[in-house]
């Protein structure tokens, strides 16, 4: 099964401002599981790339908040997730693009983010 996960940054990832509950190790975990991963943020595209490069995590995409439909069009997966902390910018955009949506606290408890999941 092909799983794609899109991460918001600020308020979602530990490296965000404000910091979120999802750690970069959690991101590495799903990377190691072979998931397609990337970020969907209001940060600049180059800024997002810099964060991933700084943490030596290879991602499949970086996009702006409104570009989840482009991600879905570009990558074929069995399920698409977006994880974010905002009702308007994350959940609404995700559902409109046909993504499943997880709040950060839901994501950390999700089997995908468990080593045994």
């Amino acid at each position: 099964m092909v799983v794609l996960i899109s991460f918001d940054i600020d308020g979602t990832l530990e490296v965000g401002d404000p910091p979120g509950v999802l750690t970069m190790d959690m991101v590495r975990l799903v990377r190691e599981k072979g998931f397609l991963i990337g970020s969907c943020s209001d940060r600049t595209l180059s800024g997002q790339r810099a964060i991933w490069a700084q943490h030596e995590i290879e991602v499949d995409f970086v996009v702006s908040k409104h570009m989840l439909p482009d991600v879905k069009a570009q990558f074929e997966a069995d399920v698409y997730y977006h994880i974010g902390d905002r009702e308007d910018l994350d959940r609404r955009y995700a559902l409109a693009a046909g993504f499943e949506f997880l709040w950060p606290h839901e994501a950390v408890a999700h089997p995908h983010f468990l080593a045994t999941g």
Binding site: D17, P18, D42, R43, T44, L45, S46, G47, A50, V63, S64, K65, H66, M67
Partner: protein, 440 residues
């Protein structure tokens, strides 16, 4: 001491006033900035009051004057446009009690009064003149300049600070209420974001002159570049990220054609200056920067938002006031630092000024040329709010620092910094200052 809001008589609102009577007789000397942060962390030492004290003390030190020489204080009392203490939320008592208090418990937390500052800065033992310059530093500068010129104060501090709380911006205050007061019920009926009016004007501009939003990219990139050379600013201090055209143009719309980066980033900051008479300034630590004029725009638009025609008419009128009172022309400007809080209106200011001879409809083409600090036509060398975060202060600090030769990596090299103008906020509605390296 009761502090009054500056009366209309302090401002130069009209054309035909002639040369400003205090031209070259008032000078800015000291500059002080507190460290910026994205939002308040709840500690006393990072509250808006605390950072205001920090900025003021730095300005005093920078000018090299003893605090008891200071006899005036001009303050912008409102420290936000969109971050409000949530109704019903417990007050930060530990923070409030860390300072000498006034009658308003949020003084020093979500607003700033002269009384609070003087109570918490005992070294300012000889302040006899206080006044509020409402809204923006641009306004307060006009008030301070006029006050020093009129002899109301001979050594005057001016301060503007911003607070920012966690959570959404512009979602609290009146916007969280059950009803809107007065005409806001009409102008805000449809809940448009703050940049809506500017977006409408820019859209009409692009239609009228055959331009596009993409043409803004070089200006944005240049502004952020300049901001990253502004060590007092937010982006340089916390997130040294450039704003390349790809980044700018990939952003989502807020109110098309205004995207996310056409709106400035709310931050916490405080900036302060020390003004004095030209005579006293000559003996201070830093090179005086003389004020040739101040001018104000207070035109009322006909309807809910100014139209493009009204914006063009008003920016041209403001420019005439600026030049008339200073006794200069557009050709005398070394550079400009007009406001950019919504990036899309910076070119309205430029065109109104006739900066480098550009006419209405030509600014976006001008952005495609060399507008860098190294070139002959520097645009917004401060980088403005795009470059350093929401403050409405960077433009003034840069003017002073450029003319003092203290702008560091940001120092303009393609022109000799002699005369500059800064101000805002809006193309229709703002205050402006003309600065000079020499009194004449």
């Amino acid at each position: 001491m009761t502090t009054a809001t500056a009366p209309e008589s302090m401002y130069r609102n009209d054309e035909g006033l002639g040369i400003w009577e205090h031209r070259g007789k008032v000078a800015a000397v000291g500059v002080g900035h507190a460290p910026t942060t994205r939002r308040w962390d709840g500690r006393p030492e990072t509250s808006v009051g605390a950072i205001s004290i920090q900025a003021l003390r730095r300005a005093i030190e920078d000018a090299g004057v003893a605090p008891d020489q200071i006899d005036g204080l001009v303050v912008v009392p409102v420290t936000t446009t969109g971050a409000f203490w949530e109704a019903g939320k417990p007050l930060p008592t530990d923070v409030i009690e860390s300072f000498e208090q006034t009658d308003d418990p949020l003084d020093g937390v979500a607003k700033l009064s002269t009384e609070w500052l003087l109570a918490n800065m005992p070294e300012l033992s000889n302040v006899q003149f206080t006044m509020y310059g409402p809204g923006c530093m641009s306004n307060a500068l006009n008030v301070a300049a006029q006050a020093v010129g009129d002899g109301l104060t001979h050594t005057c501090l001016v301060v503007k600070s911003w607070h920012n709380f966690e959570g959404r911006y512009y979602q609290g205050g009146a916007n969280a209420g059950e009803a809107l007061p007065g005409t806001a019920a009409i102008t805000q009926l449809w809940g448009a974001p703050a940049c809506y009016g500017t977006a409408l004007q820019f859209a009409e501009y692009c239609r009228k002159y055959g331009k596009s939003h993409e043409m803004m990219a070089p200006f944005m990139e240049n502004s952020r570049r300049n901001g990253l050379m502004f060590p007092e600013g937010y982006w340089a201090q916390h997130r040294p990220e450039e704003l390349a055209p790809e980044d700018y143009l990939a952003s989502r719309w807020i109110a098309k054609p205004a995207n996310l980066f056409d709106n400035d980033l709310p931050i916490m900051m405080s900036g302060a200056y020390l003004f004095s008479t030209a005579e006293r300034a000559a003996g201070m630590r830093q090179k005086p920067v003389y004020i040739l004029n101040h001018a104000s725009s207070n035109t009322r638009s006909r309807s809910l938002f100014p139209t493009l025609d009204e914006v063009e008419e008003e920016t041209a009128r403001t420019a005439r006031k600026i030049y008339e009172g200073a006794g200069i022309t557009a050709a005398d400007l070394s550079f400009e630092n007009m406001y950019d809080g919504f990036s899309l209106f910076h070119q309205f200011h430029l065109e109104g000024l006739g900066y480098r001879g550009i006419k209405f409809g030509e600014a976006l083409d001008f952005y495609q040329t060399d507008i860098s600090i190294e070139g002959p036509n520097p645009v917004s060398p401060s980088g403005g709010n795009i470059g350093s975060g929401r403050s409405r202060v960077w433009m003034h600090t840069d003017c002073i620092q450029q003319l003092q030769g203290r702008a560091g990596a940001r120092q303009v090299t393609g022109v000799k910094p002699e005369v500059a103008v800064s101000g805002g906020p809006m193309p229709s509605g703002g205050n402006y200052t003309v600065w000079s390296a020499s009194p004449d």
